[in-house]
């Protein structure tokens, strides 16, 4: 039996949601400045309208719902799940008014994709999109990738303990510093440092390709947001292939890898503990799966004759596998080629890489390297138990900042989430198959891409896709980013509101 939430519970959730909505206003205010500089007046009014709408809703909410009651775990989970949903809806307002979406739902799809750092897009005629709207789209990656709720509340709310529930609910389980606000600020410090150096390196590389300085700065900052936050949006329809530059691909690769490392690992590296990079279970798991799937995929590319020289295998093949495993979604070839020209093994390797994903507590999505590593270690331990005498005590350990014992509850948690991801991947693929327009390779590719927040596409996610499939992909992106628990808590809360007992 559920206990029905009371007015106080709803008030707390509403109050913290209001703060998040005020934060969403900032995400729109920054590109509004770009619009003024570029003289894009319709986009300026659209962004001001979006900003004002969020401010009005946020201020009214804060005014009417102000409370000093502490957040419980349930409040935190529901607030986070709702914040991402509400964020996707409210931020769609300026995007829809940009005139590049044929429906409001398509704009919501793009904001959900942007916030969850997925990178799938239904935007039409991207190559004629304004500077300000491009900046706005990429800022969505930044806001979502860093964790919009935790960042907004660490700026606007006092009390680290209060927002700890939100931090965990937002798909982060790695408390880097004792205080959650300091943890959130560390996350932004890391992003700012990478942003400074990453944007500078990209701008230099882009100027080297022949792009004028101002455009290079615009492209560079946007690519940084999309690469470091493992998003995948781009300022032009051909993505990274547009630049025809090994230097740009190199810098982007470094940023994608940096984005897929957990912030806990970044903290260890900042403290000079470089050995952690080689000992951490996630680094090892990520390195093994990336190497394995890349070798498999490149073998597939060579076997099918798609690429036979090392240049093609690395610049097109390996870059794509790296983009898939880090869940970024940048492309260096048209997505159609994965189906028509890359044979069967390479696309399968891409699907595998997207599905597994990067590290936990990073901006990457997917099952996550920690769960893959823990599941593997648990399987090895089980096999050892079978092979050793019954009296033998098998203790499995793993390294994550320190040596830890592999406990049963940890294994169960990892396997449950792993299973939920696999089921979500398969369900999305089955919904796609229902329409009879695509084969299983394509629907599985797109479903895994959406649920793992990767963003690579073979063309299923397009403006003319069926509405139900569009909604399914949006739900998959939402579930994948929040790693299920917050969304399930939100659903449970909704049910208990209606059916629970006082």
């Amino acid at each position: 039996m559920f206990i029905r939430p009371g007015r106080t519970d709803l008030r707390i959730i509403g109050y913290y949601l209001s703060k998040v909505v005020i934060g969403l206003a900032i995400v729109q205010a920054i590109p509004a400045v770009v619009a003024v500089v570029a003289g894009e007046w319709n986009d300026f009014s659209a962004l001001v309208l979006g900003t004002s709408l969020c401010l009005t809703i946020g201020f009214v909410g804060e005014w009417r719902l102000a409370t000093r009651q502490p957040l419980t775990w349930a409040h935190g989970a529901v607030t986070v799940a709702l914040a991402w949903l509400l964020g996707a809806f409210l931020l769609a307002v300026p995007l829809h008014l940009s005139g590049h979406f044929s429906s409001m739902l398509d704009a919501v799809f793009d904001t959900m994709s942007g916030l969850t750092a997925t990178g799938l897009t239904l935007l039409q005629d991207l190559d004629h999109l304004s500077y300000s709207m491009n900046t706005f789209r990429h800022l969505l990656h930044f806001a979502g990738g860093q964790g919009i709720v935790i960042v907004v509340l660490s700026l606007f709310a006092a009390g680290g303990a209060r927002i700890g529930t939100l931090y965990i609910s937002e798909g982060r389980d790695d408390r880097i510093l004792p205080n959650f606000i300091r943890t959130a600020r560390f996350i932004y410090t890391v992003a700012a440092v990478y942003g400074l150096f990453g944007t500078a390196a990209l701008t230099v590389a882009l100027v080297g390709t022949g792009i004028p300085l101002v455009d290079a700065l615009h492209h560079g900052s946007n690519i940084f947001f999309a690469a470091f936050d493992t998003g995948g949006f781009n300022t032009n329809s051909s993505s990274i292939a547009y630049y025809h530059s090994a230097a740009v691909e190199g810098v982007v690769s470094v940023l994608m890898i940096a984005g897929t490392l957990s912030f806990g690992l970044h903290y260890q590296l900042w403290r000079g503990q470089r050995r952690e990079l080689f000992r951490h279970i996630e680094t090892r798991s990520l390195a093994v799966t990336l190497a394995g799937l890349s070798i498999l995929g490149m073998f597939g590319l060579a076997r099918s004759g798609a690429y036979t020289d090392t240049g093609g295998l690395f610049r097109k093949g390996f870059f794509t596998f790296l983009s898939a495993q880090t869940n970024t979604g940048f492309v260096v070839t048209s997505g159609t080629l994965y189906v028509t020209d890359w044979g069967t093994l390479a696309p399968a390797a891409i699907v595998g890489a997207m599905g597994l994903g990067g590290m936990a507590s990073s901006t990457a999505g997917g099952i996550k390297a920690i769960r893959v590593g823990i599941t593997f270690k648990a399987l090895v331990a089980d096999v050892r138990r079978l092979l050793l005498p019954e009296s033998a005590l098998v203790v499995a350990t793993y390294h994550s900042q320190r040596r830890r014992i592999l406990r049963d509850d940890l294994v169960r948690g990892a396997m449950t989430i792993l299973l939920l991801y696999v089921v979500t991947y398969l369900l999305g693929a089955m919904v796609g198959l229902f329409y009879g327009q695509w084969d299983v390779t394509e629907t599985l590719f797109e479903s895994v891409s959406a649920a793992s927040n990767a963003g690579l596409s073979v063309g299923v996610a397009a403006p003319d896709m069926p509405i139900v499939l569009e909604v399914v992909y949006m739900i998959q992106m939402w579930l994948g980013r929040l790693e299920f628990v917050a969304v399930f808590a939100f659903i449970g809360y909704g049910v208990s509101l209606v059916r629970g007992r006082s």
Binding site: R4, D309, R315, T333, T340, D341, G494
Partner: protein, 241 residues
Amino acid sequence: VNPASERPRREHALAVLILPIVMLALVFAGVIALDQTAPTRVPAPEMVVESLPAPVLGGEPTRCLRGTSDDRVPQVRGQIVEGSRVTSALVNACPAAFEDLELTYVGEVVGHFLERDGGGWVQVNDDDYALRSGPLPTHDAFAGTNSYLAVWLPAEFAVELTGFGSANRRGDVVELVGTVVRTDPADGGGLTFRARDMRILAPSVAFTRPIHVPQAIAAAVLSAVAITVGLGLRRSRRRAR
């Protein structure tokens, strides 16, 4: 628990659930209504590129699925007439069939000219925005996403280009004669079109989007509301202190 006393509470709970949904629906309805207050814009006739030769294979892409049992490369290649017009959709659907064939490609030059070894790379789009309706900011005829080929252009033709497609400009529409290279070593193995001849079919033109007055008014009014509510919130906080 008395079921009768439960009912009003349940109704209250339902109201709490429905209220935000109604609010969002109203916001969306307002935004859509606002969007519709803009005058309907149809594609300008001068944006249409007239009398283009029909694309090869009737313009219908045949997916080759190379490396599988359903590989149709030889079939498709057998139907291609050299020199005929190709589209990016056709090439992407079966790149191996077009490999090393000399063909014609028509499209809008967008973005930048990226100079390399005696020439440079340009992105040439051949979607509806490039050839049939013009850039989306000039009309409301949605026609999907962009489709393109990466084109290598000799420097002698690059100097003839008058403008590139961007947020406020339609780029030159060019007719290119050249070769499809499935894995171009100069592009790290990318699928490219190496042009050896170019003709400008329609020169680049700048465009402006008329200011959407109702949207500007709505933004101004809502800004005033937000500022008023914000000031009210500040005052109430001061009083509470």
